[in-house]
Symmetry: C2
């Protein structure tokens, strides 16, 4: 890696206590977005971040997002928009992160005070938000500061977007992005989401894809109200009987989707892509551990990772309207709604997938020759995302990771949010 950066890295080491102090200040602010009573702390954390950015010479805006939809008396915390550098000859990177955190109490099982950054003997730091996501956000400020103090020119222009509601559904962010895509963010050449996780604990990774999700409801209704199976069993066609047969037709034991028109849309695996799986730090043992069982579809790493990342999957989540409590109830439910979703991958199209699902479900139901009524619809849909791991942004990230960690990062995707 470029020797002109030696001074920069030396400066990072020199500044490390200062960086840890700044992280400690951030961790000490309990910016819990899901707790309305902590909203002033979330705002205080946003202002702290904005102040630090200003000290480094960034131009900063605190963008209000209006009221919180589910608590109309509550203001959403601002999104921090910042720009550092505007050299037309440099590339511009848009960085995303968040400054809010999940709740934490010592009594939850923490070994240390959650809102007090504690540095262990091995240098490992503990504190709520130190990794998700205050640490990564402050990392960008650290990079700017170390460049400045080392007298090394910052190689890119940075655009920053740091929100305060990530842990509570990123309320208000979509609208802002929609609006600023051709506004504040217009000259971004690439985006870096600084809020991901590693696959295991050994190797850093760079995420280049995420599956989408189409979530469906299959509603079957017949009688006007729930019935007693003693009185009506054997006289009425039962919606639940139809529903379990429809749900049972969707996918097989090994996860193979039975709906025609799904796999036809899936991009073939390329030789180039195949090579990415072998080096990945992941074992079936890790999977069995996180699964709590050995009930996997595949027996090897590559097919398992492909099953998670680059092939669609279908899960049946449950049934609304039927008896779901412990014990026994002899009800014939009048209306039942089966819920299932398909994780989507390149090059599946949302509409084409919906159509394939609708026509298959209708066809299966028609074959049942039931007098009940079927409705099938998408509750929500969200598209997959995939970048090229060979894009200059990933190549740069890979080189930087290798310099710091001494190891090539894994190129991973995610199975879905």
């Amino acid at each position: 890696m470029a020797p002109q950066l030696d001074g920069y890295f030396a400066e990072v080491d020199k500044l490390s206590n200062h960086f840890i102090d700044r992280l400690a200040k951030a961790v000490a602010i309990p910016s819990i977005s899901s707790d309305a009573s902590r909203r002033p702390d979330v705002v205080r954390m946003g202002e702290f971040l904005a102040g630090e950015l200003k000290k480094l010479g960034a131009s900063v805006e605190l963008r209000p997002l209006g009221k919180q939809p589910d608590k109309p008396e509550l203001d959403l915390p601002p999104v921090i928009l910042a720009r550092y550098g505007s050299d037309k000859n440099k590339r511009t990177i848009l960085v995303y992160g968040h400054y809010d955190v999940q709740p934490a109490e010592k009594s939850d099982g923490w070994a240390t005070e959650p809102f007090e950054l504690t540095v262990g003997e091995d240098g490992r730091m503990f504190g709520r938000g130190s990794t998700d996501d205050k640490g990564p956000v402050l990392g960008w400020l650290n990079a700017i500061e170390a460049h400045q103090k080392a007298g090394v020119d910052f190689p890119v222009n940075l655009l920053m977007c740091f929100e305060g509601m990530e842990e509570y559904g990123s309320e208000g962010l979509d609208e802002l992005i929609e609006k600023e895509g051709k506004g504040y963010f217009a000259d971004a050449d690439a985006v870096c989401i600084s809020d991901n996780y590693w696959l295991g604990t050994e190797k850093p990774c760079l995420t280049y894809g995420l599956r989408g999700c189409n979530y469906y409801s299959v509603e079957i209704s017949g009688p006007g109200a729930d019935l007693h199976s003693g009185v009506f069993g054997g006289t009425a066609q039962e919606p639940m009987t139809d529903l379990v047969r429809v749900l049972g037709s969707l996918v097989d034991t090994d996860g193979k989707i039975q709906i025609p028109g799904i796999y036809e849309q899936v991009a073939p695996v390329t030789e180039d892509e195949e090579k990415l799986y072998d080096p990945i730090a992941f074992t079936m043992e890790t999977l069995h551990e996180s699964l709590g069982s050995t009930t996997t579809i595949h027996d090897d790493k590559k097919h398992t990772l492909m099953g998670r990342w680059r092939f669609p999957s279908l899960s049946v989540h449950g049934v609304e309207g039927a008896f779901s409590a412990p014990g026994a109830k002899t009800v014939i439910p009048a209306k039942v709604i089966g819920k299932f979703s398909i994780r989507t991958v390149p090059d599946m199209e949302i509409e084409q997938t919906n159509e394939a699902v609708y026509s298959y479900v209708k066809e299966v139901f028609a074959k049942l020759k039931s007098k009940n009524t079927l409705k099938v619809y998408a509750q929500h849909t969200g598209k997959w995302w995939k970048a090229s791991p060979h894009h200059w942004n990933f190549r740069a990230a890979s080189k930087a990771t290798e310099r710091v960690w001494g190891v090539q990062p894994d190129f991973t995707r995610e199975g879905g949010r």
Copy 2:
């Protein structure tokens, strides 16, 4: 009908105001068994009934049943055991009824005060318990009294068992019956349950059968805990995928049970039985109305009544452990329990039916070649009951009904409690 009863019937007419007064006194006692604060009223009602029986010369016992299982601070109301007559030359009839009622408030939609017996212009009476079940219980007292006053010998010995917890699960009754089967009730020649309903509103009916119920759980488990379908979809075999396929194999759209070994146990329909269906006051329109739809399995009365009364039926009630709320949740449930039950009929045996269910469910699951774990078991079982409509007890009831109502009663069964 026997002319020697003319004096008896004349006496009934003469006493009718007195009978209505007694019913009004009973209705005025809000003996709501499900409401702990009304327990003294339930006890008071039991004592009122015991007092009336004593006045008529019956020997009466108030049997305590101990504490209420779900409210151990509360005494169960007593069962009223009574005997009227012990002539060795007469048959002995055991009569069952209950003196408790369901809650009722004028604000529930009553046109009159629920705990105030109101006699309409057409002679129809309204008041909580007037039909379920204080009226039928007091009917026996009325019969005794009218015989006495008419100087007509009471034709049978009566054993009576009137409970005060019927509307709250008949707590404590099973144990008492078990104990007194060969004790207090030992010389009963026949039983008359005075707590049934008519099929419609036109004709009285005599019930000669009731389906049984075997209630099953199919439990399928795999992962150690619920999983996120984004992360694990496509890598783990999903219990819910297996379960909907198992549940989908049990019964078809028209209610035909797919489990071998069920219909083989069902007693064939006899010519004699077939004749019972035609006169029954029941129409498909009535069924459609109570169903709130026209989604019936059969299009004609006879097959519909047979489907309800004399053939087994299978209903899928729901799934425990899966997502059952409104909205969307991308969960892969780790353990799901499907619930279904079979209504059983003569000559099905509980154990033989259980075995048929267990082996079929295991066979279907084995074909799925799933790594998940299956358990199938009966939550509870209860046997069907069927009497002969030609038994002397039914013949006598039929003749009596015809004398009073001027119409032959329908011989009906019930689909199950």
